[in-house]
Symmetry: C3
Subunit: 154 residues, 3 copies
């Protein structure tokens, strides 16, 4: 049994959707990136790959590959779990925190956890905090996410 | 056995106390927040609730609730541990890091760890680092804390 | 079995080497600090000491001690592992993420993981992410690293 970690951030941009944990959240703007910029799914993917010592999201799904342009990050997460499982690992649990000044995550938390837990095939728990008006999160320049994954051998 | 994480930050403000891990630290100013703004106790509370998949500090102790105005965060931490224990979890260990430019945490570390360990009913370990004059921590705008909690069933 | 965490940051400076995980990376400038400023080795050292509840890198190797001036942080990491082992702990696994805008870590990742794994005596896994042009990482003021260590008794 062992723990892996994931951290990711994406910048707010006009004309983009805000997708967190596979759930689209109504907001004036969204997150920029090659894929759908789902910062929460990315941090979780990295935590799972990390615990299995199997590289990171950038190695598995390069943002220079047009196949992943506007990709649904939940599909990538599902594929990462499949690759980790194929190597004999089982995801036991994932805990994550979204760092976002606005909008409120609370109304979407249950849907996000259900989507992520289904994709991972294990309990994925999601918390929220703000940047208290400090740093790039607090200035609403972007959103960050942090995750830890507990994995065990098959 | 599984790992949860917690991250929190609070902003420095004049006329406030600086309370970290339940210990008041002499300093020209303190941290702002609805409760006593004990950023370390908050990160640990979130790590413990997170590992148990039982929500976060904002859900359990809403800052819109006047009951938690100027609350002692050690009391909230103790209550969070009671709720997690009531669901069959046992906190095995907590490790945390305080990110603070000034003042030095070292002279208060033993008292902080004793207070937190007593409240949690398990070994709570606390480390310190600075922001190396970078970011909101390095500019002394505020303090951040990060924690991981290891929990097991009963 | 339990999890510890480590976080560290160092500021870029002219005329310094960029050393990450014991590997010197060609770049116009490097990281500033009392030792070789190996931010990745430092985060990992803190995660290992943290999981063992044995203090932090600043307590074991004070930057006020001239013995550690320009120190090779891999030597310090090796010594921290020896101290933790002497107390009956075994490092099972370490997962870490380097947060750096430039240069790319990818070409050096295998060498870094080999160096760190040899020093720790266990599998050390390293991932990379950028700051997406946000915060002190995104503005290329410095580099941060985050690590979690899984430890077990002898
Ligand atoms: Mg990403
Ligand atoms: Mg707080
Ligand atoms: Mg350092």
């Amino acid at each position: 049994m062992r723990t892996g970690l994931g951290i990711d951030s994406h910048r707010f941009a006009e004309g983009r959707r805000l997708v967190l944990g596979g759930v689209e959240i109504p907001h004036g703007r969204g997150l920029d990136g090659h894929s759908d910029a789902d910062v929460l799914a990315h941090a979780i993917t990295d935590a799972i790959l990390g615990a299995a010592a199997m590289g990171d999201i950038g190695q598995h799904f390069p943002d220079t590959d047009s196949a992943f342009k506007d990709a649904d990050s939940i599909v990538l997460l599902r594929e990462a779990v499949a690759r980790v499982t194929a190597e004999g690992w089982r995801v036991e649990f994932v805990d994550a925190t979204v760092m976002m000044e606005r909008p409120k995550l609370a109304p979407h938390r249950a849907a996000i956890m259900a989507t992520l837990s289904e994709a991972v095939g294990a309990d994925v728990h999601v918390k929220a905090t703000t940047g208290e008006r400090m740093g790039f999160v607090g200035r609403e320049e972007g959103v960050a996410a942090l995750a830890v994954a507990t994995l065990d051998r098959g």
